[in-house]
Amino acid sequence: MKVTDLRRKLMASLVAGGMLAPGAVRAANLNENLVINGDFESVDPATTSAYNSPRILNWLGLNGFAYSHDGSSSNAGVVPDYADGADPPGAGHWYFSPNLGTPDKNDPGEFYQDINVAGGASGTAIAAGTAGFNVSAWMSSYLNDGDFSNVHLDFRNIGGTTLGTALLSDSDPGPSNVWNLNTATGAIPIGTTTVRLSVYGTATAGGPDGYTDNVDFQVTNVLPALSITIDRGTGAITLGNSTGSGEPISGYSITSAYEALTPANWRSITDNYDAGSPGPNQVDAVNDWSELTDASAHGDLSEADLESGNGAILANNRTVNLSAVGGNTWIKTPTEDLVFRYVSGGQVVDGVVLWVGNSGNSWEPGDLNTNGVINSADWVILRNNQHTDMSGLSLAEAYRLGDLTGDKLNNHADFAAFKELYEAANGGAGAFALMLSSIPEPSSMLLVLTSGLVAMPMRRSKSRK
């Protein structure tokens, strides 16, 4: 027991110290391609599949095989080129085809590599919530068919849980599909230690003939857009700019279908940081902003400079606290559904939403008081609110009072759901029966004692024989 604890602690401190990242091969640098053999030029000519195609090295999962741009040969013979369009720059000899080798590569996780981003500069940027990514790949398909290629990113935490995903697909599928460069940017979720990058094809007819070459994945220390960061522990929301340069903003909305926002706990630009609110943290010294939110509802926090429509420029690395003292601007539940959009230069931009706290995990369903455990304190909350009127509450508020099923009622369905969660968290259904049956009742204890007394002389008499 203690050894295990010690080992776990040691592991944790090594990981924290960046000395031992599981599967780490090197610290991940910023702004460089972290994909190994992303141009598929490293192949094993002795291992081949259909059309003499050689096996691609360095990738994990199913064996992947390559066609050739230039009629290069494997040990089996000349390898053909079936891709449509002029070769990409720096094409080299080989490119990946997801329908070579059995089975086809149709889904994420079949042909992939796990890129460790926990250490080095990438780890620092991810921890700080300022890590973005750039992913790009050249994509084509077989002649004029509609199959297309995809690059899929799966951002995983140290426990292997997916924190977010991104998908880059060929932008010109169909008859005019030729080799073209596809790119995407985004934010890397806080807590990400591994990025599983998969390449696969999507078939529209027959096998998945979406071809890929020159896959490039880079971690950056800039985000593609303004961000909000939500602290799971406090429910506080912070607006931030980690884009690397000043970013215009003339209005924004934070929305929640789960009704998890509390306008009463919102520190708005309108009331705190606009032209009428001078001070060191002022955001807009020129214009007066207006709140657009229904203060009695829980679905959104919205405000804008309606006066000029110009708004302000949020400086790089600037953060703005959008929460009143005490936080709980976001109502703490397992449902993390906030959407952040803002207006910049007259355009609506999808902002970045980052979640921090609770060791990188969302709250467990059933942990109604969000203290990290599902125990009798949660039961007391559920029971005290069973059959109370929840019609005036938001979905998130009702959840915190025991509405696990999302119908603004706390009734048998919620009880049954909670009981399952409680049992799972506390040792399973059998645990209670076990617990109860293993506590000896006074009468049975007496029986045990008595039988012991009776048994001893019997044994003695036996030994005398």
Binding site: R383, Q386, F415, A416, S437
Partner: protein, 444 residues
């Protein structure tokens, strides 16, 4: 525990002796038209569609569904005879269970209205036997329905319906006789509580058979509703409320609620309600909780519209009894509207814990030799060690069952209608006589 066992044994004996078929006092069959699919004799080819078997057979093809559908046009489930069942050696059909004919599915409805009308406090059990083809090359399964004859029949507006897919298949190589013995009994129950809108309306039954499924031998039975559902007896003079279980077996519950007007009424008295949380006169096996879920605990929202309590870390068995029940005190306000609904969270049958290799419901030393004999795997041994001392527990989560409510007038008051319990008691008295004095000391 022993009382329960005795009770069950007695029932078995009574049933065997023909004295007590569950609910025999009130049980009766409602005759169906063409119950065994024999009324129309198929021609020499061995099968017939509805354009032929109608109107000889009472089974109407598709009845009213969908609207505008032409009945009896031949696109229907089809009758076949025993010879046809054996005809195709590569894909034999189920051999008719009785008689010489059965009905085979073609993904269509068959339905009929009976001459009976729905009555309050009755349970209608529609039973039909079913078997799948030797070759399952299409979908298999059977939907069954009970419907109100005054409402156009369709899947959506059936009073009760269910899909059954756990149906025996005619195994390859089965003889006709083996297939005859291979049918699966499918029963759908519909409970008619007092005040239900279908009361007085004709009883209708129907089915929808998929393309690899046959049916035969339909029947419809009506029983007292208390044979299947627990209820509360509400004394309208004293306000006393009593939970009654006359289903013939203990009912394991971890939750119940009594609602007045869907929770918005005022006919309940939360103050004089004697909940299980109140330790006063709790029956055995109903512990009062201490606030942490270790027994029965009242909902925070109880008022004159709702009384409810639940048991987080366990469950309690309501014993079967035709004479007594479990008192909840004066939970009803005499003179107020009789608009109560009683629902309870019922758990599944007891499940033996892992490691109980001799299947006696408890993991103990006797399971070690059983493990060596029957299992012998390291994983099995781990189960044995991990669960040592555990005993069987009803399987959760509980399902919310809508019971029913019976209002009775005050003390001594009784209507002219004999209570089913009385009749059952008479039956049991006879049985005790037959069994001799040994069992007479026991109480139900």
């Amino acid at each position: 525990m022993k009382v329960t066992n005795w009770c069950r044994k007695l029932r078995v004996t009574l049933v065997a002796a023909g004295i007590c078929v569950p609910g025999v006092a009130f049980a009766q069959n409602i005759p169906l038209g063409d119950p065994s699919f024999e009324a129309y004799t198929v021609p020499a080819i061995g099968y017939a569609y509805s354009n032929e078997y109608r109107p000889t057979s009472a089974w109407v093809d598709d009845l009213d569904n969908p609207p505008g559908y032409t009945q009896d046009d031949g696109a229907s489930n089809w009758l076949y005879n025993a010879a046809y069942a054996e005809d195709d050696t590569n894909s034999r059909r189920a051999s008719p269970r009785t008689g010489t004919q059965a009905m085979h599915g073609l993904a269509n409805y068959n339905a009929q209205e009976t001459g009976a009308v729905f009555e309050a406090n009755k349970t209608y059990s529609f039973t039909i036997w079913s078997q799948n083809d030797e070759i399952l090359d299409n979908a298999n399964g059977l939907f069954t329905y009970v419907f109100d004859g005054t409402i156009p029949f369709s899947d959506a507006n059936a009073l009760s319906s269910q899909l059954t897919t756990d149906i025996n298949q005619r195994q390859p190589g089965m003889t006709a006789a083996q297939s005859q013995a291979n049918w699966t009994e499918v029963t759908l129950r519909h409970h008619v509580r007092a005040g239900a809108p279908e009361i007085g309306h004709p009883v209708g039954v129907g089915f929808f058979a998929r393309r690899d499924t046959s049916v035969d031998d339909a029947s419809l039975r009506v029983d007292p509703i208390e044979n299947f559902l627990m209820f509360i007896e509400v004394n309208t003079t004293t306000g006393q409320v009593t939970i009654k279980n006359q289903t013939g077996a203990p009912v394991n519950i971890d939750y119940y609620e009594i609602l007045s007007n869907d929770g918005n009424g005022n006919s309940l008295n939360a103050t004089s309600w004697n909940s299980f949380q109140d330790p006063g006169s709790n029956p055995a096996g109903f512990p009062s909780g201490t606030g942490v879920g270790d027994g029965w605990e009242e909902s925070g929202g109880v008022d004159s519209g709702v009384l409810a309590e639940s048991y987080l870390t366990g469950s309690s068995a309501v014993p079967h009894s035709t004479s007594t029940g479990i008192s909840l005190g004066a939970a009803f306000r005499p003179g107020f509207a009789q608009n109560l609904v009683f629902q309870y969270g019922q758990l599944g049958a007891s499940v033996n814990p892992d490691g109980d290799f001799n299947a006696d419901g408890v993991v103990n030393a006797a399971d070690y030799p059983a493990w060596r004999k029957l299992d012998g795997t390291p994983g099995g041994y781990d189960d044995f060690v991990a669960n040592f001392g555990a005993s069987a527990a009803p399987a959760g989560p509980s399902t919310l069952i809508k019971g029913f409510v019976r209002y009775v007038p005050g003390p001594g008051g009784g209507g002219g209608v004999p209570e089913p319990s009385t009749v059952l008691l008479v039956g049991m008295g006879l049985a005790s006589l037959a069994l001799g004095g040994r069992r007479q000391n026991n109480e139900i």
